[in-house]
Amino acid sequence: MLTLWGNVLASGILMGLVYGIIALGLTIIFGVIRIVNFAHGAMVVFGLYVGYCAGAWWGIPTIVAAVGAGALLFVFGYGLETLVVKRFVTRPHHIQFILFIGISLVLSGAQLIAFGPDPRPSVSHLSFETIAVGPIRLDLARLQAATVAAVMILALAGFLKYSTFGRFIRAAADNRLGGLMVGLPIPKIYATTFGIGAACAGGAGALISPLFDAQPFLAVDFTLLAFVTVIVGGLGSFVGALVGGLTIGLTEAFAALLFAPSLKSALSYGLLMIVLIVRPRGFFGAKET
């Protein structure tokens, strides 16, 4: 019994970190540009396909694929912001929503045309391996994803904290007008931020490819998952993404253990509603300006 609980706890934590990394990109983009990227899920699926291709076609390890997917999506995100999203930054939410639904549809459609509707499992030995720590088994793919998630979050936090451009990004997130007044290159900052957000989504997608099979229409699920995570943690906050991920991961794990597993997602949505109502900025959310 204790083993079961221990395993559930471990699995909840690992899964929570994975959720955290899936949600990271969404939170970065919101934090700086103040737009909600509803095409986030489609970008995660993009990454999943990169992971699939890397694993199944070229036999590239997942971590390398994740870096590749991150790079690819950075370029994609940077371009998308410069060409399209830029024009919508000051537009009302519902217009942005339609824009991202459009982008999401284009991505999903392209994925459907390119790969067909069949689930594409990444072929990786990681999918089957665990390491035992005492009586507790840790899933290797999840462990890898969770570790990379932690490293990535630390790296990003470091970049934002200590690099000049990272400081620019934080400044732009803090006060856009003030940034303009001291001569920050706001378009470049926004495009880069969107690129980073997209890269996180893509990298996360590739990283979790040993866990999830790629399918074009998973986009909505991943978008919703990222929302739940990010809102519980606090839109726009880094630590929030992690804490949100852990909260959801653990809630789901213990809900599955103690209640009906099929009500897992009802519980996380319920939690989301409560958090939204009681603490709309989440645990670590930035103040609305």
């Binding site: 019994m1 079961l4 395993n7 559930v8 699995s11 909840g12 899964m15 199944a56 459609g109 459907l112 067909g116 509707p117 069949d118 689930p119 594409r120 499992p121 990444s122 072929v123 999918s127 089957f128 391996e129 665990t130 088994r137 899933d139 866990l211 999830f212 099979d213 399918q215 074009p216 229409f217 699920d221 998952l225 789901e252 794990a253 599955a256 253990l257 009906a260 597993p261 099929s262 009500l263 897992k264 997602s265």
Partner: protein, 410 residues
């Protein structure tokens, strides 16, 4: 363009009734010695969340039409319509096909779109062969134009459990307890409900320990599998789609749980290519019961080979198989009716008594509600990256392997 004229007039008859006389005088004129050209409308969810089975069905329909042209000499044109996996589009798709002059419809995979499409078929009096859609209501809501090849969920489960019983009673060291892991979606819940009844009715010698339903959108089944393992069961009965079937096996491996038997009544996984792509050697030994092609059927080999040469990267699975068979049912009816008039095809469909061409099934006959009474399941077992038929005995390619080789010893 008689092919267009016939159905057009016929539809008017259905709608207005007043021109009936004209149609009656027209009908003999349309009838010719060879089966007349017929237009078949196929309603499938080719895009959207159900695109995976939907596109598989489209392949079955296309191949089936080619085959029917050669076998029956029917001049058959297929028109496809996509429901985008939305129920409300079932009717629009059906009406669009009827508008394009289709004399008979096939579709629509999911029960929602099927019911919606059936309303259009009912209004226009165009017969519709339902190749797949498992809700009881498809044939129980009083539609007169429905002909369902696919058995209702309860029938499938009952037959599946009968096969399972045959298996566990014939082996040396039968499993003692079973745990049921099932999807909480339409298919999963109805299967689980029937499972419970059938289990008792058939008095399976394996004890049912626990039901563990899980969310369709589950992203992680580790806790569910951990729970299943903790229940002490040595047989895993699962009702899954492909993704979760893969997830469950992965979890079993990771959690070092080696049930002696993994069996999915009416479940996906074992029949699907993705299952083997993802699991490789770990796929072997898992079993499922499905509607499947009869490997010992006369034409099965040729059809499978043709499918393989046409669609090199795809498998002929239950979806394409049922779609294929549905086309044959239509072709057979057209030949017997010697007419492309929908009402006459409908009458011929009612009188269907067809030896299945591809699928394993009893003689295909439709009862008063339009339900195929001959439908039957096969038991499949994964072996060397392919599903193989291991039951019923009459068509088995080999005897089922039992128990499962523990994952770590592979």
């Amino acid at each position: 363009m008689t092919s267009l004229k016939g159905p057009l007039i016929n539809r008017r008859v259905a709608m207005k009734g007043a021109v009936g006389l004209a149609a009656a005088t027209m009908a003999p004129w349309v009838r010719a010695a060879a089966p007349p050209p017929v237009k078949v409308g196929a309603i499938m969810p080719s895009s959207g969340i159900l695109a995976f089975p939907g596109q598989s069905c489209v392949r079955g329909i296309d191949l089936g039409a080619k085959f029917a042209r050669e076998r029956y000499g029917v001049d058959m044109t297929v028109v496809h319509a996509d429901t985008q996996s939305k129920p409300e589009n079932g009717r629009i798709a059906a009406d669009s096909l009827i508008q394009q002059g289709c004399n008979v419809l096939i579709g629509a995979w999911d029960s929602g779109a099927t019911i919606s499409a059936l309303q259009a078929a009912e209004a226009a009096k165009i017969p519709m062969v339902v190749h797949i859609a498992s809700a009881n209501q498809v044939t129980s809501q009083g539609f007169t134009q429905v002909f369902r090849f696919y058995p209702p969920a309860a029938t499938i489960v009952r037959q599946s459990l009968a096969e399972m019983k045959a298996l566990v009673t014939s082996v040396n060291d039968p499993p003692k307890g079973a745990v049921v892991l099932h999807l909480s979606n339409t298919m999963g819940t109805s299967t689980a409900t029937s499972l419970d009844a059938a289990w008792k009715e058939l008095d399976l010698p394996v004890k049912l320990l626990e039901y563990i339903p899980y969310d369709e959108k589950a992203r992680d089944l580790s806790v569910e599998v951990a729970k299943a393992k903790a229940s002490g069961a040595d047989a895993l009965v699962s009702v899954t789609r492909v993704n979760d079937a893969i997830m469950i096996i992965r979890e079993c491996i990771k959690q070092a749980w080696n049930p002696k038997l993994i069996f999915s009544p009416n479940g996906n996984g074992v029949p699907d290519k993705a299952f083997y792509d993802a699991l490789g050697k770990y796929a072997d030994g898992a079993m499922s019961s499905n509607l499947w092609y009869n490997p010992k059927g006369e034409d099965a080999r040729t059809i499978v080979d043709r499918f393989q040469s046409t669609y090199a990267n795809e498998w002929l699975d239950a979806n394409s198989g049922c779609a294929f068979e549905a086309v044959q049912i239509v072709a057979d009816a057209v030949v017997r009716a010697r007419s492309a008039v929908s009402s006459e095809i409908c009458a011929a469909l009612k009188a269907t008594d067809l030896k299945p061409i591809l699928m394993y099934s009893g003689p295909i006959k439709f009862d008063a509600t339009g339900q195929n009474t001959g439908a039957a399941v096969t038991v499949l077992q994964a072996k060397e990256s392919k599903p193989h038929v291991v039951g019923p005995d009459a068509i088995a390619e080999y005897k089922a392997r039992y128990p499962l080789v523990p994952f770590e010893k592979r």
